[in-house]
């Protein structure tokens, strides 16, 4: 009998942790986890986005943590696309999830979102599943919310077509004086007289930025001016793609001026992709080669003042221009001439007088005039609480 009692006590001690753990877990099991879960399909998209609204219905001391999982449900499988650990603070929460999966689809299609909600613990482990909801998403080929962009582009294309056609038939369009660009000749002339090279930095942007493309457009007429005097032109680059384009632009400009012999592909060179390593290298080159003129045209960020100050220090004439609002003040402070914002975009037309670019500049002005009229109407209507312009044409 003693043996049986002894064995019973041993077994009880051994299995007691199992019960104690269960009791600990029962902390959560005492209350059924409850929550209101709503899946909302993002309208006007390619069928990939859903929003999940989650409102805990337990008090925070009943169920402290939840886990919400979003799956992309297919005929034969469920692929987890996102999971959210939620701390119950009694508030309603909204999550955004994309149902893009490993079998990437290049065109819009409907998908099935599966939402599973669990009660959880601090570690984010799943305890009890209490919600499982599905919803089929809608897809659309055209986002009606971006209709204004479509109409704007169509109007702009019509204007561009009209003005380019006019420019090609010989109509001379006026472009107002841009002081910084009038100084290009004197900057090139000064560098030539001093026997020093000219540096052209097309910024640190990539080809996805309009300022970089504008800068590459300006590089051609400047190279043509430089070619007339056989002054060395150097173009340091931060982006390999921009460098490739700059090489072609410079080569073609030299050829157009009948001086292909002046082109050396090593003069249009890549330094590094790292912003401040590039700034340090260009500053070092300025100090060592002491250029007579420096053009800083394109997209610039925090390195703008480093370039401008170093070029100023070596006594170069500087013509700078960017559309980065936070960098223009530095150029104004440290450079001889500055192209402010859109002047950079108009510069290539101003320098080259190419009918294609001048026609586009004219079209831009007309679009701006149309937008000012629209803005004016919008402001007046808004005073009388009529929101047609802001709700349907100029949406946020």
């Amino acid at each position: 009998m003693k043996k049986i009692i002894f064995i019973f006590i041993i077994i009880t001690i051994l299995i007691s942790p199992i019960f104690s753990e269960k009791t600990e877990n029962n902390e959560f099991d005492e209350f059924d986890p409850k929550a209101r879960v709503k899946i909302i399909d993002k309208p006007q998209d390619e069928g990939t986005h859903v929003y999940v609204e989650f409102k805990p219905l337990n008090k925070p001391d009943e169920v402290k943590y939840y886990l919400l999982e979003v799956y992309n449900k297919k005929a034969d499988s469920e692929e987890l696309v996102s999971s959210f650990k939620i701390e119950n603070k009694g508030k309603s929460l909204r999550f955004s999830s994309t149902l893009e999966d490993s079998t990437y689809s290049p065109w819009p299609k409907s998908r099935t979102a599966l939402i599973k909600a669990y009660s959880s613990n601090k570690k984010g482990e799943k305890l009890n599943q209490f919600v499982s909801k599905t919803m089929k998403t809608n897809y659309s080929w055209f986002n009606i919310n971006k209709l204004s962009a479509f109409l704007g582009v169509v109007i702009f294309l019509i204007l561009v077509y009209i003005f380019i056609k006019k420019a090609r038939t010989g109509t001379k369009f006026f472009i107002r004086k841009i002081p910084g660009l009038d100084a290009v000749d004197s900057a090139v002339g000064r560098a030539t007289e001093m026997g020093k090279p000219i540096y052209y930095v097309p910024g640190i942007g990539t080809t996805s930025q309009i300022a970089t493309l504008a800068s590459l457009n300006i590089l051609a007429p400047i190279t043509r001016k430089v070619a007339k005097f056989s002054t060395p032109l150097k173009v340091p680059n931060r982006d390999p793609v921009v460098m490739s384009i700059a090489q072609d632009v410079v080569q073609e400009a030299y050829m157009a001026e009948g001086r292909p012999d002046l082109f050396d592909s090593n003069d249009v060179f890549f330094l590094t992709r790292q912003q401040f390593a590039f700034a340090g290298s260009v500053s070092g080159l300025f100090k060592r080669e002491k250029p007579g003129a420096v053009f800083l045209l394109g997209k610039f960020y925090a390195e703008s003042l480093i370039f401008a100050e170093t070029a100023n220090d070596v006594g170069a004439i500087q013509i700078a221009g960017t559309d980065s609002v936070s960098q223009i003040p530095f150029f104004i402070a440290a450079c001889d001439y500055t192209l402010i914002g859109e002047e950079l975009f108009a510069a290539s037309g101003y320098l080259s007088r190419d009918p294609l670019i001048v026609g586009t500049t004219k079209a831009q002005d007309y679009l701006k005039a149309l937008l000012i009229i629209l803005l004016f109407i919008g402001i007046i209507l808004n005073i009388f609480d009529i929101d047609i312009i802001t709700d349907y044409i100029l949406q946020r």
């Binding site: 079998t103 990437y104 290049p106 971006k146 962009a149 704007g152 582009v153 369009f173 006026f174 472009i175 107002r176 004086k177 841009i178 996805s208 309009i210 390999p240 793609v241 490739s244 384009i245 072609d248 330094l271 590094t272 992709r273 790292q274 401040f276 390593a277 340090g280 290298s281 070092g284 100090k287 925090a302 003042l305 609002v325 936070s326 003040p329 530095f330 104004i332 402070a333 914002g341 859109e342 002047e343 101003y350 001048v358 500049t361 002005d365 701006k368 937008l371 000012i372 629209l374 803005l375 004016f376 919008g378 402001i379 808004n382 929101d387 312009i389 802001t390 100029l394 949406q395 946020r396």
Partner: protein, 240 residues
């Protein structure tokens, strides 16, 4: 040995920072060494980054997955992209360098088109909308705010009342300033030029001060590292 491993990299950081600052005196050998280390490391890093973060996860892994799933069309789609990218290498010889224009044309063309809608939505539509209504939905030209100012003429009410009209007038004047194909003799262009320049310079002045303070903060951070954190580290490592 442990002291060396703890102190080595912070000491290198201090030495390189000081080496870069020597540029303020003049271009010298120490600066050149630091400049070339910085440039070399960044180029090496970007090559490794491109391989591990772009080439492998965005090309190699998807192609392998699509091939194993039997999704050959998508695999070919990715392989074609990779092959077009490889055409950049054709620039190494003069004979084949023309081939590199294809990936350049695709990249530039894609981005030019891709950026149209985001640029319109963020830089045109949203900006003009914000010139008509503030984020709460009330008009920027709000007569009620002027009424509140005249009923209770405090500085705060005055600022509230003129804030919106200043933005509206400023935007209109600056937009007119950036007309390039209208003559300066045009009446509207002529009268708006000077006020537009004043508004632009006020804006740039604000931006200058704000950015300058951020730069000073960075400088203080570096000085703090050189004169405070690094000596403390030496003391705690060697002294303790």
């Amino acid at each position: 040995m442990e002291a060396i491993s703890i102190l080595f990299w912070p000491t290198i950081a201090v030495l390189l920072s000081v080496a870069i600052y020597t540029f303020l005196w003049k271009d010298n050998m120490v600066y050149k060494i630091a400049e070339h280390i910085f440039m070399g490391v960044s180029v090496g890093y970007s090559i490794a980054y491109s391989y591990h973060k772009i080439l492998v996860p965005k090309l190699w892994v998807p192609v392998k997955r699509f091939l194993s799933q039997g999704n050959y069309i998508l695999a070919i789609y990715f392989i074609l992209g990779g092959l077009i990218g490889l055409l950049y290498i054709s620039r190494f010889t003069d004979k084949t360098s023309w081939l590199s224009r294809y990936p350049i044309a695709i990249t530039v063309g894609f981005y030019a088109g891709f950026r149209i809608v985001p640029v319109w939505m963020t830089m045109v539509s949203k900006q003009l909308n914000a010139t008509i209504k503030d984020p709460t939905g009330s008009p920027l030209l709000n007569g009620k705010l002027f009424e509140a100012f005249f009923n209770n003429p405090t500085w705060g009410n005055f600022i509230n009342a003129i804030n919106g009209p200043l933005i509206v007038v400023g935007v209109l004047l600056v937009l007119i300033y950036f007309f390039f194909s209208f003559s300066n003799d045009n009446f509207v262009v002529k009268i708006s030029r000077k006020p537009a320049l004043v508004i632009l310079m006020l804006g740039f002045g604000g931006a200058f001060g704000y950015t300058f303070m951020a730069r000073i903060s960075l400088f203080i951070g570096r000085m703090n590292f050189i004169f405070s954190e690094w000596p403390e580290l030496i003391k705690s490592t060697l002294g303790g």
